[in-house]
Symmetry: D2
Subunit: 234 residues, 4 copies
Amino acid sequence: MTEIKFTESIGIELIRCLADDAFVAQAARVSTAGDLKPVEPGQGKLINYLMTKKHGSPFEHGLFTFRAEVPIFVAREWMRHRTGWSYNELSGRYTELSPRFYLPPADRAITQSGKPGAYDYAPGSLTQMGLLRAHTRESCAKAWTAYQAMLDAGISRELARGVLPLNLVTVFYATCNPRSLMHWLSLRSVSDHAAYPSTPQWEIAEAARQVEDHFKYWMPVTWSAYDNAGRVSP
Amino acid sequence: MTEIKFTESIGIELIRCLADDAFVAQAARVSTAGDLKPVEPGQGKLINYLMTKKHGSPFEHGLFTFRAEVPIFVAREWMRHRTGWSYNELSGRYTELSPRFYLPPADRAITQSGKPGAYDYAPGSLTQMGLLRAHTRESCAKAWTAYQAMLDAGISRELARGVLPLNLVTVFYATCNPRSLMHWLSLRSVSDHAAYPSTPQWEIAEAARQVEDHFKYWMPVTWSAYDNAGRVSP
Amino acid sequence: MTEIKFTESIGIELIRCLADDAFVAQAARVSTAGDLKPVEPGQGKLINYLMTKKHGSPFEHGLFTFRAEVPIFVAREWMRHRTGWSYNELSGRYTELSPRFYLPPADRAITQSGKPGAYDYAPGSLTQMGLLRAHTRESCAKAWTAYQAMLDAGISRELARGVLPLNLVTVFYATCNPRSLMHWLSLRSVSDHAAYPSTPQWEIAEAARQVEDHFKYWMPVTWSAYDNAGRVSP
Amino acid sequence: MTEIKFTESIGIELIRCLADDAFVAQAARVSTAGDLKPVEPGQGKLINYLMTKKHGSPFEHGLFTFRAEVPIFVAREWMRHRTGWSYNELSGRYTELSPRFYLPPADRAITQSGKPGAYDYAPGSLTQMGLLRAHTRESCAKAWTAYQAMLDAGISRELARGVLPLNLVTVFYATCNPRSLMHWLSLRSVSDHAAYPSTPQWEIAEAARQVEDHFKYWMPVTWSAYDNAGRVSP
């Protein structure tokens, strides 16, 4: 029997990318019949203009494909995003799943107070963290045993998986364009920006942090413009 | 403590609808400047023509809103559909979830053989069904106990829910237009049609069966045209 | 031969609608398992919260269908919007078009100075307006004569229409949900709001003004929240 | 004054591409946890399976960006496609347009008989072709003179362009994923396939022919599967 593993990892890998600042400018310049003229260094002014004036379409001609290994509850929050996103995911009907479960890392704030949409999170005591870990480990192990027992008895995978928990690690490919990526970031990342609307769960915010690193690396000028504009997508 | 319930129900309710065959014809007739002319009885010929010729857009000017109470694994299959769909779902971050878990009904085929995409399902023995039910009940009860214990200890809902299983019943609103509904049906329902591509899981096929009943009731001519065209969406 | 008509009208008619503030609240409340509880009067607080926190999805479960009679250049600006919109339009392939052309009304600012994206428009002299009208009338009449002559000679409609101008009045059905409507308004309407990004052409802004009147009538609380939030779509 | 040009060209250029058969297979294989295994040569069997079983999502993780120089009436037919497409186009508000007009080539069938959706097209006599060319040339020249006269008089570009005809050549960038490309092809290209639904206008069918050449070059296995499946998009 496969050994049960617990992981603290939110794993985001960039596996394909065709996106750069210069092409944003090129696509925008077709508006003024300038798309075939030589590209000048520094697209910052134009890109800032597009961002603040909400000309979003020039940011759509690119592609990022991520491979995510995250708990199912994060996959569910992610896939709520539909426009400009494409997904392929590990199937619990087509394959026997693997016993890998997510456990929050030691420095994750684990207690919650306040009202929906305005929660405060705090670290929690050692006792609380111990209890969280013990219950999670035990409950997942139990679920895995039940899953295996049902498979061994010839029950179909699609039904046996019903007992598997939301912190089971799933794998999916997610492709988006830069505009959709910025919209997603504006809702799924955290920021010190005063007017920032969203209060995402830590785990998807951690995924967003990694996605944003890739975005910033490949499109530094666009990223700056996005950040300067208050992290609001055009 | 709330009592744990197991349910065999896949519950789909139509709660809002603005969709009818006559408006498909009206929208299509704007093509030929005929949209404001008196509507003749019987739109069948035009609607059949639109369906077979893949003129899909006249089927988009309508709305169905369903309220679904289904296990999470069904919600995940459903929400894979992005174009022309809108969703709002019960949140495990904002509210304490309720202990309602899905169990397959007694006549559900529970064993699986064959290859991915071409499985054969068979009823299974009484022993197998008993084993499925016992493991599912026990594993879900265990998960619920762990969830409650963590909440009692002050752990945040968003983390405690990690142990809850995929057969937990969730609730969501799903709104779509008739064209997206037909596309969804073509992939999520079962049919005797020889060339039918899809082999959906029984539970979402049951949801699709209920959705299709509503569709057929409100748009009988469109439904017939869809069915006659091999259940392929325009 | 049909008489040529010139019109100053941007004509938007609401022909179907299923949208109200109460349902926004109902859909949002499924998050906290409250969607089936009796609806209290006054959804303002919740709807304002959704708007400012960018919870956009509860605004998607509704439908507005407009019938627009506008010049082709406005139709082109409108149909640039793809997400959450459905269209059916008068076809120049399937039907012989009618000689109705748009002329700007007398109080329309008709001269332009400044740079792309930051134009200033001014009324223009009587001479300029006279010249605009004379050239437009003459050129459209010439184009119509050519169109008719080609049709009379048996040339196909789809080729003959090539000479018809962009101010020819077209007709289309446009269906959207309230969220897409707000996004469209934020780019196609004008506002005194200081931070307002868009500088739409007067003709589509006039279409947007009429669309916004319908939106405000059917969803007054949502409209207020949208306006208070700086006319930015959630 | 710029010289008026007439062109018979439907010009489609592929300017960016990230799309290949191998990645379709890789994305699909995440379903069965096989995406990181070494890729075997020959993805044909899997890709054919995905196509016929309507598993469309693995075909979405790619990008084609085309630069199109086509008459406005073709741009309008093209941009009717919304899902999975992004556009940026030459602006008649931001720039002075150029006098380039489309004329059908000598071997284009120019007469039409039959009913909407089932037209027969025939070559037309030399007289008819001569008449088409003369009327088109004269009408476009007249429109251009009016456009120039209005600009010279200080009328804004956005209003002056109203007289310009639908056969004016426009330029736009169009980005799509392979799945959307196939759907577009299924409606905008011509085929001998008996059950083929669409009867597109020759000019957009010519654009589709060029787009299909690029698609076939970069994704030969996917193209074959699409063609074998009756040219129906998954």
